[in-house]
Amino acid sequence: MFWGSAALFVLVGALYALAWFRPAALARVSVGQWLVGGGLVMPSIVLVGLVGAAFVLGERLIPRPLEDPPLRVYAQAYQWDWRFGYDDDEATTSELHIPVGQPVDVVVTTEDVIHSFWVPRLAGKIDAIPGHENVLRIEADRPGAYRGVCAEFCGNGHTTMRFTLIAHAPEDYAAALAEARAEASR
């Protein structure tokens, strides 16, 4: 997408320069050719390709029901912090723990205003809307800590409403989660 854009930008720039400095070179191109070629055909081809690719990618990213339902975790936003819950227990943690190498559905909700769940290195974002449940499907390839932020402006504490997501190897996950819960309840 970046290189395509760069190429288009250079193309328009070059035509503009040519029109200024060597109008003779372009005089033979008729107005109709300019409009149909540059205005209709060129962008249509680019857009059909681009939109098609985006649709395919989008279909892969959306949280569609799977044969084997992915792990669900719960991210609840409030002014101005996060708490994270898991299916098997009511206890919550202040950092989000997930296993690596498998898709995880994050169910995002809010207690007050609109927030947005975003871990830039893992996936796009999804808003936490009052009264609604939104689901974001994420997958981490490598164990480690990932930074997360609130991406939707939510008042004075918006800037500091950060959180950490920790991805664990599948075999360590259960133990790590138990430890985190124990720490949170202490």
């Binding site: 300019w34 540059g38 989008g58 609109i114 809307i129 939104n134 918006h158």
Partner: protein, 840 residues
């Protein structure tokens, strides 16, 4: 011979100027002249631009380094909210309105706009509304929920202070001016043109403005409705956006972006119109692809209403719905490309020459094409999910808005400033100023693409160091200050031009449009006579035309009865069909704006009962506007020169005020349609449905109300027919007023007895607003009917002069139509709600 010619011209100038000019002193406040008001709009918009610019400098100072403690989040939130609000509502829109107000009559060959007093009212509403915001900021209570005002952050629970009310009321006040300008611009372009200027001969700038104004009439009402609903929620606890009582914060997002995205094109199109006007002049070749551009901008106008959800890609909407909006967003690139290639073709087929405006056109193409490309990227859903609400978007929107609006407007400023001052630009400062702006702009905002891709979210008042954002932000801040220096230099340049620029006589750029056929600075009456346009109006010879017109050769080249006359034409063909008698200067717009301002202030400080006083005053003042309009006897066909006779507009079929009413009702209808959308949206999407209590009206009362509304409309139609046949309209109008009184009474009774408590659930709140809407319109129906009676009794109405009654008829028809829809909706909703019970 030539000497007599000259003396005739001077005599005509004196006669016309005596009628049209605005005297000095306090009388300036009574000015309604478009040249004066256009200048005032532009100056005021520039002042607000400077305020917005200073705010942006504070932002860049704060973000220059990590962990800055320059301002805290409380202040920072006000700063970025006000920066966005000021730039969008108080700079961009009024700025192009100012250009349009100043230029349109001159381009079209008219002596003023269609509704000069409305121009003045719009100006005062803009200034007062804008001042409320700025004063609030000085007192530290500026809006702080973002320029997009998302609920529930902007609801009273999370923003209990006055801050959000300042935004909602102040901006709605300013919107009055936008709607006024949109009606004004549309009617002027459709009706007030030079004879012979058919639509296909119209200067391209007028086409752009026509499309823009049409978009404003449809685009602004959703926001106005949203603001009204949110203010009702904040003031009276009606829960439209409260998810615990059947409201939904997403409703606000839909209403806001339904306005917000078209808004971007509303800002871009006039600027593109300026580009389409300027490029041909410097390419020394008429615009290529004139018709393709017209089709392209019509396509943009429609498509831009089909992509508002791309601001909401992350709120959890199904992928297929996102795809509609994604594809439509991408599609907008095509008509834009058509325009860009039409400009390139014009340059390629011409013999381009260089001057300062062309420098800014280059800047525009460079920056805007980049912004357009990132726009297409953002339209792609997966990419959007990643960079949404990050600095990438900040970069994109500034490339589009500054590239698509500020650069072309600077080109336009350098191009048309000589028209205002009568003096030429000096190159010494203009060129370095451009390069400062160009380099400063790209340095500031190109970096933001990168900070955004590196994960920096928007609207943070500071950031930690060491995550790869430090030097990019510092560069952005340095670029910002270079940009500011550039703007300071432009200000100096403009002042110097006023003081020291070289005077010239006419048409310094060898342009071929009508505004250059005037002497500069332009006279108060624009043209001593109106020209006959027999070819496309961007291929004229202003020099020859200018001399002829000054000598009074053309239409209306005389003064009559002290009237301010200009010609009205058939919309498509440009054949004159009326002579329009424009109203003279008056203080009424100022008083009316003050009354509206007091009303707004009463609401702001929560004196709700007291607010009824200025509201009543506003109504009385509006009626007082009609005191000087109208004719007491029939004039029949009047000679307008060129062997042509047409009736005065009071006796014509489609005078400007009739069309003005049609457009106003179309705008109002969009607001009403948005309300109906809101009702269905909440039912379908909001949590907390179905409501516990439903409306119980029975059928009798709603049916009676419907009969009263339809009756009022029919009676008013009968009154118009009776009047056309010579009289007897009076009793019919009285009966129509009576029918409206009955319907208002019934509606109030329904609201009081049958409706569940509106604060209990969004269902009841929307039903309340629907019924109240009809009640208000019906109450105004009483006013319209009695106004007709009053005009008849004062002798302003005859079989030929039926305008007052026909405008009333439009209102009564509209009220009946929306009233019936509303009553049907209120009756049907309980049934629909019952069906849904099983659905969710």
């Amino acid at each position: 011979m030539s000497e007599r010619h000259e003396t005739n011209a001077i005599r005509l100038h004196r006669e016309l100027d005596a009628i049209w000019h605005t005297p000095p002193g306090l009388q300036r406040l009574a000015a309604v002249n478009h040249t004066i008001l256009g200048r005032r709009f532009i100056i005021a918009a520039f002042v607000f631009f400077s305020i917005g610019g200073i705010l942006s400098m504070l932002i860049r100072a704060q973000l220059a380094t990590p962990n800055t403690a320059f301002v805290g989040p409380e202040v920072y939130n006000q700063i970025f909210t006000m920066h966005g609000t000021v730039m969008m509502f108080l700079f961009a829109i009024p700025m192009f309105e100012g250009f349009a107000i100043y230029l349109l009559p001159k381009l079209l060959g008219a002596r003023d706009l269609a509704f000069p007093r409305l121009t003045a009212l719009g100006f005062y509403c803009y200034i007062f509304g804008g001042s409320i915001l700025i004063v609030a900021m000085l007192f530290g209570v500026a809006p702080d929920s973002g320029w997009f005002m998302y609920t529930p952050l902007s609801s009273s629970t999370y923003t209990p202070g006055i801050n959000a009310d300042v935004w909602l009321l102040g901006i709605t006040f300013v919107e009055i001016s936008a709607i006024a300008a949109a009606v004004e611009i549309t009617v002027t372009i459709l009706k007030l043109r030079a004879p012979g200027m058919s639509l296909d001969r119209m200067p391209i700038f007028a086409w752009y403005l026509l499309v823009t104004a049409g978009m404003m009439l449809i685009g602004f009402p959703p926001l106005i409705l949203g603001s009204i609903l949110l203010e009702l929620e904040r003031a009276f606890d009606l829960p439209f956006f409260d998810p615990t009582r059947g409201g939904d914060s997403l409703l606000w997002q839909h209403l806001f972006w339904l306005f917000g995205h078209p808004e971007v094109y509303i800002i871009f199109l006039p600027a593109a119109g300026a580009v389409s006007t300027i490029i041909p002049v410097f390419a020394r070749r008429e615009l290529m692809g004139y018709r393709a551009i017209i089709v392209a901008i019509i396509a943009v106008a429609f498509l831009s209403f089909g992509l508002w959800v791309h601001h909401m890609f992350t709120v959890g909407i199904p992928h297929l719905a996102l795809a509609f909006f994604s594809a439509a967003s991408a599609l907008v690139a095509i008509p834009t490309a058509v325009q860009i290639f039409a400009w390139l073709a014009t340059l390629a087929h011409g013999k381009p020459r260089f001057d300062v405006p062309m420098l800014y056109i280059f800047g525009f193409l460079f920056v805007f094409v980049l912004g357009g490309l990132t726009g297409v990227m953002l339209a792609m859903v997966p990419f959007n999910w990643q960079v949404h609400d990050s600095y990438f978007v900040v970069a994109h929107l500034h490339y589009v808005l500054v590239g698509g609006f500020v650069f072309p407007m600077l080109a336009a400023a350098y191009y048309w400033l000589p028209h205002v001052t009568g003096r030429l630009t000096m190159h010494k400062i203009s060129v370095p100023a451009f390069w400062l702006i160009f380099i400063g702009f790209n340095m500031t905002f190109f970096m933001m693409h990168l900070t955004g891709l590196r994960g920096m979210p928007r609207r943070v008042h500071t950031y930690p160091s060491g995550v790869g954002w430090d030097w990019l932000n510092l560069l952005s801040s340095i670029g910002g200050f270079i940009l500011t220096m550039g703007f300071a230099l432009i200000l100096v340049d403009i002042i110097l031009q006023f003081r020291f620029g070289k005077p010239y006589r006419r048409n310094p750029w060898s342009a071929r449009t009508l505004e250059w056929a005037q002497p500069n600075p332009p006279p108060s009456y624009n043209f001593a006579a109106l020209p006959l346009v027999d070819r496309r109006a961007d291929t004229l010879d202003p020099h020859a035309i200018g001399n002829e017109l000054a000598a009074g050769k053309g239409y209306l080249g005389f003064s009559r009865n002290g009237w301010q006359e200009t010609l009205g034409v058939d919309m498509t063909t440009g054949r004159p069909d009326q002579t329009i008698i424009l109203p003279n200067r008056t203080f009424l717009p100022l008083w009316t704006a003050i009354a509206i301002g007091l009303f707004v202030l009463c609401l702001l400080f929560k004196f709700y009962w007291l607010s009824l006083v200025p509201l009543g005053l506003t109504l009385v003042l509006c009626l007082a506007w009609t005191n000087v309009t109208g004719l007491k006897h029939d004039h029949g066909e009047l000679d307008v020169g060129g062997d042509l006779s047409v009736p005065p507009h009071y006796e014509a079929d489609g005078p400007p005020s009739w069309w003005g009413m049609v457009l106003l009702l179309a705008c109002n209808g969009t607001l009403y349609a948005s309300l109906i959308f809101a009702v269905f949206f909440l039912w379908l999407v909001a949590p907390g449905w179905p409501p516990a209590e439903l409306l119980e009206t029975g059928l009798v009362l709603p049916l009676l109300t419907a009969i009263a509304l339809v009756g009022a409309a029919l009676l008013s139609r009968m009154a118009v027919s009776a009047n056309a046949e010579g009289g007897g309209a009076l009793p019919l109008l009285l009966a129509s007023a009576g029918a409206h009184v009955v319907s208002v009474g019934l509606l109030l009774y329904l609201i009081n007895t049958a409706l569940p408590e509106p604060t209990g659930h969004a269902y009841a709140a929307t039903a309340f607003v629907t019924l109240a809407y009809t009640a208000i319109h019906s109450a105004l129906g009483v006013v319209f009917a009695l106004y007709g009676v009053w005009r008849i009794m004062n002798g302003f109405v005859s079989a030929r002069r039926s305008l007052d009654l026909r405008i009333g008829r439009l209102w009564h028809d509209y009220t009946a139509l929306t009233g019936l829809t509303g009553i049907a909706l209120v009756l049907i909703m309980p049934l629909i709600v019952a069906i849904q019970g099983g659905g969710q």
